[in-house]
Amino acid sequence: MGRRKKTDDKFAKPIRGPGRKSRKQGEPVFAKELLATDPNEKKKISSRGKQRAKKRLVKEQTKLTNKKTTKPKPIIKRQSDGESNDDEEEEQQGNGYTDDNQQWLTPKKKKVLFEGDENEEEEEEVMEEDLPYNDEFNVESSSDDDEDDLDEPKLDIEKKSKKLREKQRQQKESAEQELLTNIQQHEKVQFPSGQEVTKEAPQADLQLLMHRIREVINVLNDFKNKREVNRSRKEYLDLLQQDLCNYYSYNEFLMNKLIDLFPLAEIIDFLEANEVQRPVTIRTNTLKTRRRDLAQALINRGVNVDPLDKWTKVGLVIYNSQVPIGATPEYLSGHYMLQGASSFLPVMALAPQPNERILDMCAAPGGKASYIGALMRNSGILVANDANKDRARAIIANTHRLGLTNIIVTNLDGRQFSEHMGGFDRCLVDAPCSGTGVIAKDPAVKSSKDDKDIQRCFTAQRQLLLNAIDSVNEFSSTGGYIVYSTCSILVEENEAVIQYALNNRPVKLVETGLEFGVEGFTNFKGTPFHPFMKYCRRYYPHLHNLDGFFVAKLKKYSTKQGNKKESETIQKKKEIEEDDSPASINED
């Protein structure tokens, strides 16, 4: 039984609509070879083919007339014996040999057997290309070549090989020369001229740019010996900054900040790490399942998972997946949360205990809040606040999905939160920030941030942190802790904010309890910070393969508020803030 091909006209119209007929398998399609009914039928000839055929006919006739005059040869093979030289010549030209050897290499005297022969040869080649099924000519010519090789003296081949060797030698020489010139070109850092600086087109030579960056760093690392005499350190640094900006397409402001932040050896690693995405990680929801069970379930769905690292017992890293990882039945029934590995860290530093009152000041979309809820095992009270109502809705959906029952979701301004509610045991402030740690996630940060954005960010962060401190109960028997975290790596948004809180509120820095990460700066560009700033932890994409992150843990030890002068400054800050509303704050 097979499908019948409908050839009638009345079936030509395709069946549309939702019905069963439209879902029916289409008509059978047959291969072209099968459709050809008569193999003996003449193939259709193209217009060129027709011309060729005409030519062939004419030639055949001339050949015939020739044959009549000379003695006809019985075997076709023999016919073309004399053409060997001719053949060779043509081949050489075709292969692109040069005429270097013109002086000594003279062509052999042609021995023409037939007048039509030369033409014939050309004709043959054309035929080879156009009509692959017409074998006769092909066979003939190839056999010719073989015979030629055998019959001819070695001399010809020798000449050829000699020529080849000569050519190779020349190529080698030129390559060496080129290399030398290249080396000379890059041995010293070439400063662009004034005109070049203004109108640079770096797209064309990114490789050259990278080379220059490395050279400049090399010079700067050993400045005394490698510098050019008339160039100052600043010139080198400017050049480096310019080149890095061009190569990685950052704006100057951010690049300056980054150069200040990293030693020269690390800056390229950091910038390169920002070009690649971090691995996708998920957090097991311990309220509903265990990590091993979840991993097994995901592996059964064709997801390639592995435990994240030894510092977490709930993280899994996804290498690749055949199914969308954010829409599996396991995800929908709340067995895991899609979450960056770095966002585990502030919650681990917060170390929430069951039966506590905990506040997550900037909670959306609820990843960290749900982790806190899982650690509290659904006891106590967890308040998840976010200033943005639409994003706060995501908290509701996520926490319900993950089965959190002790959560209150609010939509208050975190800067005035303590007016509504206080007395929390612990508080997490994951402040909105410029996002300089997550450039891999959002490359727009590279060029969109300027001084004013950063200022807006850290003003908001300071207010949030102070308010969080105010809403924490310092008499709590288990807590009194505040964890401050950002996904920024700039000092202004991190250490400086902590320092501000230390100056204005009765808090002290304590150990975060995270065993890895880089210590915070105790001194940056001549600004001293509190010596306990070393308890803060910084995370970098190139060192830890996490998003850039900052975590600090504070403990409140007294009720006393900041003195009057400081509260005045806060008031001033608020006024400034109200003047220019935060428009482009990148929220985590």
Binding site: G326, A327, P329, E330, L332, S333, G334, R357, I381, V383, K389, D390, A392, R393, A394, I395, I396, A397, N398, H400, R401, G403, T405, N406, I407, I408, V409, T410, N411, L412, H420, M421
Partner: protein, 180 residues
């Protein structure tokens, strides 16, 4: 935020009893504290007294959610159960339906269940009674209404509907904004 009126309580309990029968008692008399229903902006929330007390301190407008949202009252005062209630309904379910793996996806996209996708069904399920839908490895997926009783299901042809879709966990993605 306020406690439910008698009318509202009656409507809510009628709805819940379709799924969990007289297990509603288990929701209200819990050993780990006092749990009650509260109405906030036409939505019914279920949570412990401690959380209710705490949440009542926030301004009404800014309080978005507390505890678990069970569903909402429509403008015609009918109660519509949300998928967020699944965590509390599934453990007490009276009548269950298990889906074959290839029918899971269909159900999660909001489609009804046909006989061919039906893995198992609780004995004696009456027609038009609320059922909880599970995967074959006992993960709750949502709830629906039995279109046929268990006995009718046996006899029917593979393409006929056996469960009407009401809510499924896919709504956490599809319908995030309307959930609460």
């Amino acid at each position: 935020m306020r406690p439910l009126t008698d009318d509202e309580t009656k409507i809510l309990f009628e709805k819940l009893s379709k799924y969990i029968g007289d297990n509603i008692r288990m929701l209200l008399e819990r050993p780990d504290g006092l749990y009650t229903f509260r109405l906030h902006r036409e939505r019914v929330y279920y949570c412990s007294e401690a959380i209710i007390k705490f949440a009542s301190n926030f301004p009404r407008k800014e309080l978005l959610s507390f505890g678990t949202c069970f569903g909402r009252f429509t403008k015609t005062r009918k109660f519509r159960l949300h998928i967020t209630a699944l965590d509390f309904i599934a453990p007490y379910a009276k009548f269950k339906v298990w889906l074959k793996p290839n029918a899971e996806q269909q159900f999660l996209y909001g489609h009804n269940v046909v006989k061919s996708g039906l893995g198992r069904i609780t004995e004696n399920t009456p027609k038009y009674n609320g059922v909880i839908v599970y995967t074959m490895n006992d993960v709750p997926l949502g709830f629906g209404v039995a279109a046929k009783s268990t006995i009718e299901c046996r006899a029917t042809d593979p393409m006929s509907l056996v469960v009407f879709h009401q809510a499924d966990v896919g709504e956490f993605l599809r319908n995030e904004d309307a959930l609460t």
